[in-house]
């Protein structure tokens, strides 16, 4: 029997929606990456999330007539301008008399409100009991993190997650291998001329010897071919032939795969 039932469905949904506190998420990463059943469940939940987004990306246009089904008139552009001014004034007045946010919102407890970062897509690590994660695992934990986005806040969150993950393994006296594969826009994280995280990456590389940043040669070539950009990478960043090929290789080797 898998340890899949160790986590409730609600917990797995919260994991997929990035609603867990950082430490709790790190713990979940470890166990999910090593349990095929949990991985499959997370993958399916993530797929549902993506399908909903896809289904309503372009909703049907509203009816063209000026009168809607219930006879209400549309807001005219002139009214829109006046309305915007009123809204702005309302916000300004509201600011003057606002209460502290803590008075308006209940405590968050263990639920976090901020955006989203990593999503477990697929992993095929060996199934292991929770106890084996902490002490004696025959197999070295291995996680590939695939970065395709160059959004600063998301990258910052990703580095937080990577650091939490490595710190967790370190505290459990395990040497996890973490490989961060960067292609497409994700390459910006390790471009010397673009990265806002050069010092932080250097710090992580010094602190964790099993952490690798791998840049996709195909993306580097494409930037040169299409935009004439000669990419310079941060120190210590390795180059792989193809991000996609690396992902396939690592998955064949049983690495967990997390996409950002």
């Amino acid at each position: 029997m898998s340890q899949g039932k160790r986590y409730s469905d609600e917990f797995l949904n919260a994991f997929v929606d990035n609603q867990l506190a950082s430490e709790e998420k790190s713990r979940a990463f470890v166990e999910i990456s090593q349990d095929e059943n949990l991985n499959r469940q997370v993958c399916e939940l993530r797929k549902m999330h993506d399908l909903v987004q896809h289904a309503y990306r372009v909703p049907p246009a509203p009816p063209a007539s000026t009168n809607t089904a219930r006879g209400r008139r549309r807001i005219s552009p002139r009214f829109g301008v006046a309305a915007s001014v009123l809204l702005l004034l309302g916000i300004a007045v509201g600011r003057e008399v606002r209460l502290p946010i803590s008075d308006l919102q209940p405590p968050l407890a263990e639920v976090k409100t901020t955006g989203n970062a990593m999503t477990a897509i697929r992993g095929s690590g060996a199934t292991a009991s929770p106890a084996s994660v902490n002490v004696q695992t025959a197999k070295q934990p291995s996680v590939l993190i695939h970065v395709t986005d160059n959004d600063t806040s998301r990258l910052n969150q990703t580095l937080d997650d990577i650091e939490s993950l490595l710190a967790y393994y370190h505290s459990a006296h395990q040497e996890a291998r973490v490989e961060v594969v960067l292609n497409g826009r994700g390459l910006g994280l390790v471009r010397a001329d673009q990265s806002k995280f050069a010092r932080r990456i250097a710090h992580l590389q010094n602190k964790y010897k099993n952490l690798t940043f791998a840049a996709c040669q195909n993306t580097i070539d494409r930037l040169k071919r299409e935009q004439g950009i000669v990419v310079r990478l941060l120190p210590g960043v390795t180059v792989i032939d193809s991000g996609m090929a690396e992902i396939m290789r690592r998955q064949d080797q049983g690495w967990a795969y997390l996409q950002v």
Binding site: N13, V52, H54, Y56, L87, L88, G90, L104, G184, N218
Partner: protein, 187 residues
Amino acid sequence: MKTMDILDFFLRTREAQRALQQARSRLYRVAYAWCHSAALADDLVQETLTKALQKSSQLRDPKARDAWLFTILANCYRDHFRRSRDMDDIDELELSLEATPETESSRAEIVTKVRAAIGRLPQGQRQVVTLVDLEGFSYIEVAQILDVPIGTVMSRLCRARNAMKEILLPEFQNNPEGATAGIRRIK
């Protein structure tokens, strides 16, 4: 008022216009996902924006504007069903759609199938799953928008996704092309 203040005022007004326009399309998308009727969704958004303007002084924190607008939308939607179906509990209401996954199975149209699957969810579940997945609201924000406990949000989301999995996963397991589409998109 100094010149810079006036300039700042008009810049912020333009910003407010842009924010309102962006909010409009986002409100419409979610409203459509809730009711699957373009005309009703448009009506609800009109009503939402009108009420937002009337109540704009209630908005204490501009950063909370999105959640505040969607709270008004949820209230408008609830009011709409109270007016038209006094006896129905909208949390349990399902949309009566002509298109269901079964009738659409002959068409390889993912969007139609997913919308049909969402249309079969009880209204309360549909609202939660669309607020989380389309707008990226946190669970606590969704609880505030719909005025329900956070535990209810989590259980509704859980039931919604499980129901969707039951309906949709067999479709995609029978469609290998769909299963590999994500990998092709990466590069």
